[in-house]
Amino acid sequence: MKKTGSGRKKEFANPYTVTKAVTKGNIITKLSMLVMGLGNIAHKQIGKGIAFLAVEAAYIWFMVTSGIYNLKMLPSLGWREQEKVWNEKKSIYEYVAGDQSLLLLLYGIATIFVTLAFIMVWRGAVKSSYEAEVLAKEGRHLNTFKEDIKSLFNQNLYRLLLAAPIGGVLVFTILPLIFMICMAFTNYSKLDEHLVLFDWVGLENFAKILNFGDSIGRQFYSVLGWTLTWAVLATALNYIFGMILGIVINRKETKGKAFWRFCFVLSIAVPQFVSLLIMRSMLQTTGIVNTLLLKYGLIDQALPFFSNATWARATVIIINLWVGIPYTLLQVTGILQNIPGELYEAAKIDGANAIQTFFKITLPYMLFVMTPYLITQFTGNVNNFNVIFLLSGGNPTGVGDTAGKTDLLVTWLYKLTIDKNYYNLGAVIGIMTFVVLAIVALLTYRNTASYKDEEGFM
């Protein structure tokens, strides 16, 4: 791994590094470490220089007005409770707002984010100043602001295209995630009334969840086992049946391809939670399926679709097939049609039969293109909130348990946070889900062909 890493560094090597700027830069470059953009302005890159300067001013303003306070409060997460204070002048009690640990934690993390982003811009500014200096000294061309903008549409297109998506991910995925991860190390929970003010507690929550003796720990291992079973079965069955269906529909001899595809794909058109709620109401003890079966004397008593653990587990897996196969079908259809026709023609000339072409051409091609899809499906199934929550609600649930027999880690996480307000335990479960997935995904993903050799199938 290290080898490819250094190879990448060499491939994208930039001769203008921060270290070089510090050691070899002239006085203006060194000053632009304090006053960002100075070097650019000095070399007539006014637009760029002013942009750097503006970023610096904004950051300093932010830190002075709130950033420094946020960082200061992070280690303690606040201690002042809300108080009632007698106001002599108005003769009333006034509430003095106390600290809210949750907000302090969030703002603290956000400040760290802003600071990291600032450091990156700062590095960019220093490098840019040094580059301007060197280029000017060598008498080479310095990009004007207009040319910089133009390059965003050509060799630097990725910066333009990625800016917004990455920004969105940073603020609405990574920031909240780190926030929740931090929560796992606190006592933010309804237990002992720590919903307003809470503290760091280290690994206490992890110890509780991983402990076999504890009731929470015992449930954790049982939920974990079922989550893995569910994910493997759901992913594999969906893929296999979906692919078979796709190939069957795509056969030359199959009539009305569009019609068949439409029938299956129609179920995607219905919002998933609607079809799941419908299924649930159909499969209830008094639902239409049981009612009809009883009416025609096919069964003596209602089938326990969601009240018996084994039945419930089988039911959710089968219904998930109904939900998932059309998606696989959609995927498979596009890819099947994308397989280069020459491959099949060549195989035909070489005298290969249908089964050989399937195993030698279709399947390797599908796996090549679809391994990332399969991995996302697997993780999607481990985190498949909708199907479990809307169908069985995790039931049946044992007495005194917080997790039911069909609960996945993620639905248990929901119950722990939303229903019980054990935010810290919920966060630990979230991290555990991640750990499980990370192990599985890294092992498989690293070994797939499409990750190692992205350049093409052939």
Binding site: L162, V270, Q272, F273, M279
Partner: protein, 293 residues
Amino acid sequence: MSKANDTAVTGAKVRKTITNVIVHVILAILAFIWVLPIFWVVITSFRGEKGSYVTTFFPQTYTINNYVKLFKDTTILNFPRMFMNTFVIAIFTCIISTIFVLSVSYCMSRMRFKMRRPFMNIAMVLGLFPGFMSMVAVYYILKALNMSEGSMIPIALVVVFSAGTGLGFYVAKGFFDTIPKSLDEAAIIDGATRWKIFTNVTIPLSKPIIVYTILTSFMSPWIDFLFAKVICRADAKYYTVSIGLWKMLEKEYIDNWYTSFAAGAVLVSIPIAILFLMTQKFYVEGMSGAVKG
């Protein structure tokens, strides 16, 4: 000699016909299973008997009152408004996330830069966390940005539904990877910029995947109800359809609203189904019209 050949040919033909018949019968049975629940919703939406408990598959009386109720009885659950809310949110989400997904996938597939591999690894790692784990945090971030109250709620929902979509680039990237690189190279020789290649070469060749992206992103606001529930809280004015329908199945409403729930489900499915009918064409054509490797 030629006669034996003939029988062999007809034998193979018969066998082929039999396989074909079997295949079509199996397809028909499966299609029936897949369509059945949808059919059930449709007939339930026209059912005259109230409540969720029934003893016959087909309704005993038919009525369109369930639909009328949805549009007339707007004091408690204002379905038309929910519908419009979701529709507007879905359109904006769809535009933003399609742009995001295509941009990211194109960069990951076609451009080479320092942060590419790290970004792909980070994206993969992020995909491993339960999406909803961060929900509580997202709510507080929106609150800090003053986006959690009143008329900002729809904007907040658009942001929530589309902000993270850049991470879902795998499928589109896999597709872009199959478009021959020689096309790009030819365009570069002709003096095209990267932007030109993206808009004039890659995008026109990628109809199926674009349609797929549009579809999935358009549907996310209709499907999701958890995020919508957390962000709207009790502000019924900004409810999306999914929360509305979910409410109809709550204990206090189910007896009165069950059949209207079915009606609502039918109405919600219609815009998505229409979109589907329009886009079906692209799936059938697939890549067969595009460049062959």
